[in-house]
Structure formats: C-alpha cells, structure tokens
Symmetry: C2
Subunit: 112 residues, 2 copies
DNA sequence: TCTTATGCATAAGAATTCTATGTATTAAAT
DNA sequence: ATTTAATACATAGAATTCTTATGCATAAGA
C-alpha cells in the first residue's frame, strides 16, 4: 500500500471489491485503477499485490485465466462463487470498521 | 485489535486521538474506553497496546507518569508537544484514508 | 475461596506489507 | 538508433504490526 503508510489489512478487501464491480482484472490493471480512483493517495506495490492475489487464489476466492496481449502475459482474475460471498462479508466488516473509527476519531462525521 | 480482525496501523492513531481529547490516560483505561466507544466492535489486546505505548514513548510522542491507586500501579500517558503535532498529521492521514476507501468501496457514501 | 476485574509486561509466532531485485516486451523519448 | 519509461509478471528478505499465550500482582465480588 505504498507510501501512504496506513492501514494494512485493507488490500484484499480492495481487490475483492474491484473484481466484484469490474468482473475481471489483471494485476497491473488493479494498481492503475486504485491509483486513479484515489487520485494517487493509495499506491499498491507489486510486492504486496501479487502475493495477495496468489493467496486469494489459493483460498479459492479467485479464479485465474491467462491471456496474451501484444505478446505480453496477463493473468486475469475473477471472483469464484465463494469469492462473491466473502466479498459481501469483507465489505460489511470494512463498513463497520470505518464507522467505528469515525466514532472514535471524529464523532461529528456521519455516513449518509 | 482483538477478534474484530481488521486493519493494522490504526492503533497508534486511536491512542493519540484519545490522549488528545482526554489529556492523560493509562493503558487499561484506553482498552475500556475503546470498547465503550465502539460498543465492543474494537477490542484492543494488551499484547498490542503496551508495546505500542512503549514505542510511542520511545519516539518522543508520549510522556509517562507513574501513579499508585489503591496499591495498584498505573502509568499515565500524555502527549508531548511533538506528540500533539503528530496527532494532527495522523488524523489528517486517517481522514484521507477513510475518504479513499469510501471512494473505492462505496462511492455513494460521503462524509458530511 | 474461587473467579473476575484491574493493571502492568513480554515472548513467540503469524500476517501483511515494503524494499529491492529479477525477467521480458513494447512504446516513447532523445 | 539507443536509452528510458511503461507494461506485466514474480520472489526473497526485512520490517511492522498484531495475536496468542503466558506471567506477576492486587482488589473486589460470588
């Protein structure tokens, strides 16, 4: 999660969520998408991303499909059925976490 | 951060914020306060808390003051000047992080 | 009297991430 | 034409953070 030191543990949730809405993505694409969506705030490093993808795959949450584009390798990942279920759970947990943090840190905020 | 699995890196920010608004607190008090404020959502374990406090102290962000109450030891921590500055920075980072995550995960939310 | 609550602490291990490095192709810049 | 940047994958070693387990000690409650 690059230079913006904060908050380990959110990477897999980000990956799952992106795959949920994009259908399928490859690693490099994920790093660029996150950079774009957060205006450079979060930078996913390759050393974090690829092991995370491999682990999610090993856990049965992702499927891989290899493609060759312009003679370059791409590994497209998509959610398995189990992955879709897990995504729902992780997002709910993340939302709870964010609410808790807001209560702790700035009770004036609220999510609408 | 106990059973509620999520998100390493937020503990020190929580500690700093609580000390900012409470003036001074001791370790056990922090665990109880967090449990209360988050309705049991976040449980800070001692194995995480005490090392974190020691580190913040070593970094010069906290000062300690030992007290004895009912023949039991208490170590009251409070922010140093440097700690107050750092708290402002960390809270700004946390807010940025939360906004980023919301953009990623649920663009329909917003903080008001 | 036994258990729970209060209050501190550390050690070993797990989990996650960062930094550095490696390979290879394509596109852009000099 | 050649160097650099971008694309695309990967892993190893170190650092950081947290969990689990354990330890000591006093006070309060069952």
């Amino acid at each position: 999660m690059g230079n913006s030191k904060l908050y380990k543990g959110s990477l897999t949730t980000i990956i799952l969520k992106l795959l949920e809405e994009q259908g399928k993505m490859y690693g490099y694409e994920i790093t660029q998408k996150v950079k774009l969506l957060t205006k450079g705030e979060l930078k996913i490093t390759e050393g974090a991303l690829y092991p995370a993808l491999h682990k999610l795959e090993a856990e049965g949450l992702l499927d891989v499909e290899v493609a060759k584009v312009d003679n370059r390798l791409r590994k497209y990942y998509k959610l398995t059925e189990q992955g879709e279920e897990e995504t729902v759970n992780r997002l709910a947990e993340l939302e709870e976490f964010i609410r808790s943090m807001q209560n702790l840190v700035n009770p004036n905020w609220s999510i609408k």
